[in-house]
């Protein structure tokens, strides 16, 4: 009986596998699983990190519980101090104190040293009253803002990284306000990243359009040769191309040497063309130009050149014929190329990091800074999530307008 059932089940399974939708999904599934584990899950954990930070909450649970009774004015009650003394000493033994202190410090600058120093001295205190002991060690412990900072850093699920990434902060009463003027960085950075990406997209369009036009309407053999001139940079390592620009543009570089030997500039007046925003813009336009030329070329190739002569013979001037006949037909290519270049530009990291100097850094470079140097991973993740949101929106737009499977590679 069971065998019959098994056989039927097997038959049903085999039948299901023969069904086209199941077979198609079966072919796609291994890659979905692979990309899910190796790519989507990592990006997902980063997004989680932007709102979830358990370090302080795990280290100081009783202190944070006691703080919930506090009205937020002046120093909290003895219970808070007693719990804090116990838990801070334990954190020191567990070697988590440094991580707790740096998180509190990010909410309120200067508290890292207060925490670390106080815990060292607390070991010499045998018994309460703890409030007096804390305040005797450091007057900051009597201030409400210290405890507000600990309470904020203790939020397990928190919006503070996003607030920080948007130059906002939470006031002690819970209201949201802008950061003080000298601490507003990221909104301007985001604006700069957008503006630079737009400018690079515009440069690519300006340079790529005539180029694509020339290639699209050249004789086949010449077109292949010219296309190869666009594709060689496309296939050349990004680091090689960035190195090239350093060699060309640096103050002791090829171009400055040329200008000096031609007498255009004095040897002491060499132009700073790299390690600043100019360097970032020039090198990125060079790197991204092929991504503009290729879609433009694909579209222009389908436009019969006779159309322009027909327009001219009907009395249209060249600008008129271009504007009314040629340009509208190239719009799909313009859209595809511009969107692709813009998407790639706003997330660019390597080129600005190598040739951008101080002033040519974009949002990706700040994400890398917070990942590797300041170790503020929550803020890095929040900035990353904002960038990813922008890219995802543009990606959906690209899919709607062009179709992602039609992306042309090389």
């Amino acid at each position: 009986m069971d065998r019959v059932n098994d056989e039927r089940a097997l038959e049903r399974l085999a039948g299901a596998l023969r069904r086209p939708p199941v077979r198609a999904a079966g072919l796609v599934l291994p890659l979905v699983a692979f990309v899910g584990v190796t790519f989507l899950a990592p990006v997902g954990t980063m997004l989680v990190r932007s709102v979830y930070d358990p370090v302080v909450a795990d280290a100081l649970p009783d202190t944070l519980a006691a703080l919930r009774q506090w009205d937020g004015e002046g120093a909290p009650g003895e219970a808070v101090y007693a719990a804090a003394a116990r838990e801070l000493l334990r954190a020191r033994d567990d070697r988590t104190l440094g991580r707790v202190a740096s998180r509190v410090n990010r909410v309120q600058g200067g508290l890292r040293s207060v925490l670390v120093r106080s815990v060292r001295r607390l070991r010499e205190v045998d018994a309460g009253p703890w409030r007096a002991a804390f305040i005797a060690i450091d007057a900051d412990w009597g201030e409400a803002r210290t405890w507000h900072a600990i309470r904020t850093a203790g939020e397990r699920i928190t919006a503070r990284h996003y607030l920080h990434a948007l130059d906002l902060r939470r006031l002690p009463d819970g209201a949201v306000a802008r950061q003080p003027e000298d601490r507003r960085i990221y909104v301007a950075l985001l604006g700069r990243t957008f503006a630079v990406s737009l400018a690079i997209t515009a440069f690519c369009l300006l340079l790529g359009y005539p180029l694509a036009h020339l290639i699209a309407h050249a004789a086949p053999r010449r077109a292949a040769l010219l296309l190869a001139l666009v594709l060689v940079p496309f296939w050349t390592s990004l680091l090689v191309r960035t190195t090239s620009w350093i060699v060309l543009l640096q103050t002791q570089g090829v171009l400055n040497d040329l200008f000096v030997s031609l007498g255009l500039i004095g040897d002491d007046a060499r132009i700073a063309m790299i390690y600043n925003m100019t360097g970032t813009m020039v090198a990125m336009t060079h790197v991204l130009l092929p991504f503009m030329v290729l879609p433009l070329y694909s579209v222009m190739r389908t436009i019969p050149p006779q159309q322009m002569s027909a327009a001219a013979s009907l009395g249209a001037s060249f600008p008129q014929a271009f504007r009314r006949v040629y340009w509208p037909q190239t719009l799909p290519g313009v859209g595809a190329g511009s969107l692709l270049v813009f998407i790639l530009a706003i997330g660019y990291y390597i080129t600005p990091a190598l040739v951008g100097g101080q002033s040519g850094q974009l949002i990706s470079n700040f994400i890398a800074y917070h990942m590797q140097t300041s170790l503020n991973w929550g803020l890095a993740s929040a900035l990353g999530a904002i960038l990813l949101g922008c890219v995802a929106g543009l990606y959906l737009l690209y899919d709607r307008l062009v179709g992602i499977e039609r992306m042309r590679l090389g």
Partner: protein, 270 residues
Amino acid sequence: MSGRIAHLAACTLIFAFLIAPILVIVPLSFNAEPYFTFTEGMLRLDPEAYSLRWYREIASNAQWTRALGNSLLIGAAATVLATVLGTLAALGLASRAMPVRRLALGLLISPMVTPLIISAAGMFFFYSTLGLSQTHLGLILAHAALGTPFVVITVTATLSAFDINLTRAAASLGAGPLRTFRRVQLPLIAPGVLSGALFAFAASFDEVVVVLFMAGEDQRTIPRQMWAGIREQISPAILAVATFLIVFAVLLLLTVEWLRGRAGARAAAG
């Protein structure tokens, strides 16, 4: 007429902008002096001013040779993974019966458009918890993930030119799905699969952001070594490496164009 000349002149300048920076590297890599610019001797074409010293230096430097080994190992393994998985997925995606096709395609292409710094940061966290950071395996998996979109796109493009009636004909003649794939589909899409594989390899061979976050000393690749060369101890040796990479890029380009020609010819014949 003057408009045409202006157009040609502008295009010449733009081509110069595209190509000149790459070409300038090649002669400078033969510089006998440790400078990044043309010496007077080089401009006089004095043979004394040229030398192979930087090529000798990279050939004898263990860091560079190890980096090349790492790049080839990681690139090859990631390419095999990406090509097998990507080709299978493209075959599934080409079927009109595929459920949630658009969503699947969107997810599978997303590693290509996600800013690398985000992929790298996420992978750093995730792979560290799995103990895969600072291992070759971790980098292979990461690069395979980043390479799959290239395979999916090129194979999908080849399949769209593929005549579905050929598989039906094979089936009607009694071939099972596996046999149909091996004898009919695979030979026809092979050029697309190969160019996808080359794209995936090139992507891995040139990738530096994920390597910066995840590689230890033992996993340093060529781009990582160049990054260090540009940032830390700047030496014309990186120009010699760059010249190699330019030659490599030209070879890749020629191969991919040749494959594209074959794919086109086969599609036309099919």
